[in-house]
């Protein structure tokens, strides 16, 4: 009675470019300790926390795909999904992330793509975010067909990398299931 795994999300695609500078030398989050927990009522006080900057996955920086190739890099959740029909046609990277671990709903998923030049060097990145339920139900009155355990993605080569990007690497740094 489990749900089929081959339905495709049609939620709005968000493609965001990550900084090229960070692609070359990804700064690590600072390690300032989190301040003591809030203790008053009302304790409406956001506290100082480690800076949690979004950075490209390390695997995108170390990957050296050959021309025309697209490769999946290591990430924290590689044992929870596989990617069907992963492809790079020179203009875009596409595929379908099929989540295989304890799925009733995909709450958050991010696919990061690195674009590489003819030497295999990372020259830019982009990402795709799926943001499903686990959110205010007023936006989603019913659980719709979008909330299936696979998400198709398509990420175009940014205009400024057109021609220079000849291969790609792919990773999944964010994956949260219900």
């Amino acid at each position: 009675m489990s749900r089929p795994h081959n339905l495709t999300s049609t939620l709005v695609v968000t493609v965001a470019l990550l900084g090229l500078t960070s692609a070359c030398a990804a700064p690590q989050p600072s390690e300032a300790p989190v301040s003591p927990a809030p203790v008053s009522e009302p304790a409406s006080a956001p506290q100082t926390a480690p800076t949690s900057r979004q950075t490209p996955m390390p695997g995108l920086q170390t990957a050296r795909p050959s021309e025309g190739q697209v490769v999946l890099v290591d990430g924290p959740f590689n044992d929870r999904f596989h990617i069907d029909a992963l492809a790079f046609d020179g203009a875009r990277v596409s595929g379908e992330v099929v989540v295989t671990s304890d799925v009733s709903e995909i709450i958050d998923l991010q696919v990061q793509v690195g674009f590489h030049d003819a030497q295999g060097t990372l020259i830019g990145t982009a990402s795709y975010d799926h943001h499903g339920h686990g959110h205010d139900e007023s936006d989603h009155a019913t659980h719709s067909p979008e909330d299936q355990p696979s998400v198709a993605f398509e990420i175009a080569v940014p205009a400024h990398l057109a021609g220079a990007a000849v291969s790609a690497s792919v990773g999944v740094p964010v994956l949260v299931n219900e």
């Binding site: 009675m1 489990s2 749900r3 089929p4 968000t14 965001a16 690590q28 989050p29 390690e31 300032a32 300790p33 989190v34 301040s35 003591p36 927990a37 809030p38 203790v39 008053s40 009522e41 009302p42 304790a43 409406s44 006080a45 956001p46 506290q47 100082t48 926390a49 480690p50 800076t51 949690s52 900057r53 979004q54 924290p76 959740f77 044992d79 929870r80 671990s101 304890d102 009733s104 709903e105 709450i107 958050d108 991010q110 990402s127 975010d129 943001h131 339920h133 686990g134 959110h135 205010d136 139900e137 007023s138 659980h143 740094p173 964010v174 949260v176 219900e178």
Partner: protein
């Protein structure tokens, strides 16, 4: 308007850091309250009334009782949440949402406020709210957080973190999973606690002394360094992504222990029983984790001889209900109830412990149907709705005929002859403690016929059971937010 909110929040930070916010001491707040030494709060995620009934009939028979049902106080909990930017009940801008998720529900009992689905440790307008575990820790109690889910999942995270979106779990921040512009208007700076991944918070805030569960993949080397610096005995290395085992847990000593036994959620008990040589079989049961947590927390009293506050979650009841797997659901109910027995036995010996057993919401419309019958999901059409004897009772549209089984939707008992059809809506059947010895699961002869309405949460009230001083407040029906008040007053930290 939204920028003003952010500015106000920033000012509040400064006020707290500067020590200019006056806080009443617990003794001043409730001078006449008689408290308890310890509180053990056990939560069966997704465990509705029928889950309890089915578990009882399966394992103890129709006239038997689960351990939780032996507790003297029985009641129900209302579980509704609210929409984003809603006020609290009774306020003019109150906007209820009748079906909660685990995050909103966790915030209700952990922080005493109704909030929107997906929010943790913040109210529906995004204000950070203190949790019962934080208050207990601050007051000198020892604290523990145990779950069969990832420890960054909603229920355990509700006591130990504050995020606008439950998907902000880590190890990586992303704006899409952490920010909520419907609440804040503009993106918060990434050093704001409300957009800091839960794993980063848990690894650094020291809210729970004992942390046991799953979710090692959410933590990284920097988190391990932070944990070690605080004195945690780290049983499972985030750096090496090496999970801990039951044997590691048994050897754990000391005041602060961090042990995660799977990179994701822990493994269902049925799978461990079916595959005793699998690596997952080395994971401890919820009862074993509860036993160890109590031992660690009770053996070294908190400051001023105070006791402990322990939260224990049986998370896989919900997750396997979402999956509509009745065999696994039943197994997880039993595993959870075994943990309840551990807590209850301790409380009876100790004499100064309040034990609360409840759920956050019902999951999947779990139901017991009469042996030999079928559900609407299996039917070609709904039931007859005409009353020939008194047409005034008829319904529209009229169905003078109906209630027939659709053989394409119902291809045999789902854990029996229909087991190979993934589109089969037929019930699963199980023998009970009352059935004759030869009756087997998955056969028409088994007396417990179980079905699911859907793969989603429902809005039903959930049961609550309690034992110990103060438990009488839970008789009848309470709001889930009342649980925060009852627990914090019992510990005299309100």
């Amino acid at each position: 308007m939204k920028r003003t909110k952010i500015l106000a929040a920033s000012l509040a930070v400064g006020a707290v850091l500067a020590g200019s916010v006056t806080m009443a001491t617990p003794a001043e707040a409730h001078p006449r309250q008689r408290g308890v030494q310890n509180v053990i709060y056990l939560l069966g995620d997704g465990m509705g009334r029928t889950h309890v009934t089915a578990g009882r009939e399966r394992f103890y028979g129709a006239a038997g009782r689960l351990n939780m049902e032996t507790m003297p106080v029985h009641g129900f909990v209302r579980t509704y949440s609210v929409l984003e930017n809603s006020g609290q009940p009774g306020q003019r801008d109150f906007k209820p949402n009748l079906v909660t998720d685990s995050a909103s529900s966790a915030t209700a009992w952990a922080s005493g406020v109704k909030t929107y689905n997906a929010a943790l440790g913040v109210d529906a307008k995004g204000n950070v709210k203190a949790t019962a575990m934080e208050l207990a820790k601050k007051a000198g109690y020892r604290t523990g957080n145990v779950s069969t889910a990832e420890i960054t999942d909603a229920t355990p995270a509700g006591q130990a973190s504050h995020v606008l979106m439950r998907g902000c779990q880590g190890p990586t921040y992303s704006a899409a999973s952490c920010q909520n512009l419907d609440i804040t208007g503009t993106e918060l700076p990434t050093n704001d606690i409300r957009v800091t991944p839960v794993a980063k918070q848990i690894a650094r805030n020291g809210t729970a002394d004992v942390i046991l569960g799953g979710g090692l993949a959410r933590f990284d080397a920097a988190d391990e360094k932070a944990l070690t610096a605080q004195g945690y005995q780290v049983l499972s290395s985030p750096t090496e992504q090496q999970v801990a085992t039951r044997a590691d847990l048994s050897r754990a000593r000391g005041g602060k222990v961090f042990g995660l036994f799977n990179r994701g959620n822990l493994t269902v008990e049925k799978a461990k029983a079916d595959n005793p040589s699998a690596p997952q079989a080395k994971e401890p049961t919820l009862a074993e984790m509860t036993t160890k947590a109590i031992s660690l927390l009770d053996s070294s009293k908190g400051r001023h001889g105070k006791g402990f506050y322990l939260q224990v979650e049986g998370a896989l009841i919900d997750k396997r209900s979402h999956a509509n797997d009745a065999a696994q659901t039943l197994g997880e109910i039993k595993a959870f109830d075994d943990a309840v027995k551990v807590a209850l036995d301790f409380a009876k010996r100790d004499g100064n412990t309040l034990v609360i057993v409840t759920a956050d919401h019902e999951c999947a419309g779990f139901n017991i149907i009469e042996k030999g019958t079928f559900t609407n999901a299996e039917a070609a059409n709904p039931p007859v709705n005409v009353d020939a004897g008194n047409p005034a009772n008829n319904s529209n549209p009229s169905r003078p005929a109906g209630n027939t089984k659709d053989s394409s939707r119902s291809t045999g008992i789902v854990n029996g002859e229909g087991a190979n059809d993934p589109h089969n809506f037929a019930p699963a059947t199980f023998r009970t403690a009352d059935d004759p010895r030869g009756v087997k699961d998955g056969t028409p002869e088994a007396s417990l016929w179980l079905t699911y309405l859907s793969g989603n949460h429902t809005g039903a009230d959930v049961p609550i059971y309690a034992y110990g001083r103060g438990s009488e407040q839970l008789q009848g029906t309470v709001e889930n937010t009342d649980l925060f008040r009852i627990v914090t007053r019992a510990l005299r930290v309100a």
